[in-house]
Assembly symmetry: C3
Homo-oligomer: 274 residues x 3
Amino acid sequence: MFEKMMNNVNTKCPLVHNITNYVTVNDVANVVLACGASPIMADDIAEVEEITSICNSLNINIGTLNSRTIGSMIAAGKKANELNHPTVLDPVGIGASALRTGTAFELLDNIKFSVIRGNCSEIKNVYGKTAATKGVDVNVNDKITEDNYKDFANLAKSLSAKTGAIIAISGAIDIIADSKKAYAIRNGNALMSKITGTGCMLSGLIGAYIGANPDNILDATATAVCVMGLAGEIAYDKIIQQNAGTSSYRTFIIDAISNMNYDILKGGAKIESI
Amino acid sequence: MFEKMMNNVNTKCPLVHNITNYVTVNDVANVVLACGASPIMADDIAEVEEITSICNSLNINIGTLNSRTIGSMIAAGKKANELNHPTVLDPVGIGASALRTGTAFELLDNIKFSVIRGNCSEIKNVYGKTAATKGVDVNVNDKITEDNYKDFANLAKSLSAKTGAIIAISGAIDIIADSKKAYAIRNGNALMSKITGTGCMLSGLIGAYIGANPDNILDATATAVCVMGLAGEIAYDKIIQQNAGTSSYRTFIIDAISNMNYDILKGGAKIESI
Amino acid sequence: MFEKMMNNVNTKCPLVHNITNYVTVNDVANVVLACGASPIMADDIAEVEEITSICNSLNINIGTLNSRTIGSMIAAGKKANELNHPTVLDPVGIGASALRTGTAFELLDNIKFSVIRGNCSEIKNVYGKTAATKGVDVNVNDKITEDNYKDFANLAKSLSAKTGAIIAISGAIDIIADSKKAYAIRNGNALMSKITGTGCMLSGLIGAYIGANPDNILDATATAVCVMGLAGEIAYDKIIQQNAGTSSYRTFIIDAISNMNYDILKGGAKIESI
């Protein structure tokens, strides 16, 4: 599936509308460009419907939620739905405050998302299971392991059935699922949690992949997750060689995304159908 | 002209007031510092007039326009005009939404800009010619080539006559013009469009150069464009040597700006008077 | 003292609530992660009290102050005080506008800060001595030198007695003081002023260190200042070796923070009790 998904990003060069947080917005834009797509960031209520209309997909991220942009998110999402543009929700920190939890559910009530991506605590909170969070980080009790990953795949399938969205859970093992089928992806490196925004970057990457592959959201999402994880491995090798640290790691991850091609991805992806 | 322009930046260390977007703001600040000037970012209506008063120039960028800051842009611009501080407008994405187009013209109606810098689609839209845009990217029909660059120079001269501003069109060949004279600059590298913010960074750099050279805005702008383009070439050589990617490219561009001096610039600038 | 301070950051992994500017927010988040803590950025009035309640410390930075977030800063600060969470204030650009000066004093009136960190001009302005500023940069007349650093230590002690906060003055020699005791720290490199946000990053780092060491704010702050300064030295050696520039310098500073350990810090810290 990878070849088709990647070719579509490269040939269509989709335009991705991002309403995202101000912490990692630059990295999100650079990742979208690195994979062969184009980003546009716009969050004012006076222009979001117009902007989303000229785009191929919409990425909504609540990482630094504020009252000014909640209405913009809803307006953009409704317009994207109307135009059948694929949409991704990154419910950053849902569970950490009533504002984030309430807004995430308001978005889910008003917008049909194609993909919902988060860490395990966030996805549990989307499900309505109260999961303890540690701010925007996953709770230690929500780690995905070889022992429990099939349970998380079932949780993801069930949440997909409930929401109609592809569910992408990021963790030591990533789970991507629709209501019937799931993938477990074993790419990535633990150091990715030591830089801010790898989750946000992945959601931007998913926005690019689903914008170019609207007819196969599950495989587009799984491909984006493999690209991100493999980039994390390639970058890790590089910082070990260079005795570098976490900021170089950030740089090398985006570098690896920009240099990714089908052969590299095919050789490095570790994906299991379950 | 380069030597005088650069010396003035280094000796005066101008303070540049930036009202810019939150996507590339960090890169803009670092580029302004890298070239020898100092940035200050301030966009609240309660302080923009005071802040612009202590600065040497003003850089307005509408990349993530929102209703809160439009009034701030106008107030700062009027104050800068009153104090005869040079001003630059970067009309990011003009044409992509009514808000951006309307605001750009509102800014042009209220503020006398010293420089207007954008890609070719953006500059055509400033001219009032309706140009299709692809979000914040240039439209494929608006590429500047060896065959058409003199036409674009004429367009820039004509728009300069209309607005009173130096016009800087960024493209494969950059065009810088006042109403009578134009420069074509053949520095830069196509990969610059694969990282976010090279345009914004250039506008910040122009802010620094015109802040230090208020008596020669045309040459100050052309020098800044050469610095940016040559930095793009030096950085490109470095990523090829290191087999690196687009995020390293961003880093190396700013590195090259910080290491730029008159000898490097004189040796590498490719500028033609037309 | 370093060993205990660092161990507490690594074992407690404190969560740091940051209400900060949009210029350097990404660097602040990455520095907090690099030192072993976790950041959360949240500035909406509807969630700041809840967010600060789940955190270990609060970092308030007025670098791109706007009317929307001043109330959020005060609400978060009062809640942090109520919960005895350590708090740090970075009064960026106090003195550059009435808004910044007025807000800084409003914050100081409403919130008991554990640490106030700024450059020398900013700290003088906090003291109520009118110091000329150059935007967000230190005024040339406020440089800390071998000839005057003991005077600045006395100023810091006196301001600490007045405010109850540990005072951290950043300069060629850094001064950290409570009302009775001061440290002079001679780490760092002049190039740190050529990238944006080294002050903001340090305030984030202090947030992490005081969050993990609430019972010894003075030593926690001094340790963070040594870590930042030494990282600036290690990174400087690296850019000289590689013939790199200011953007690589930024990367290498964060790398050095992520690779810092007790042995490196003990070997490199230059701290004097005065």
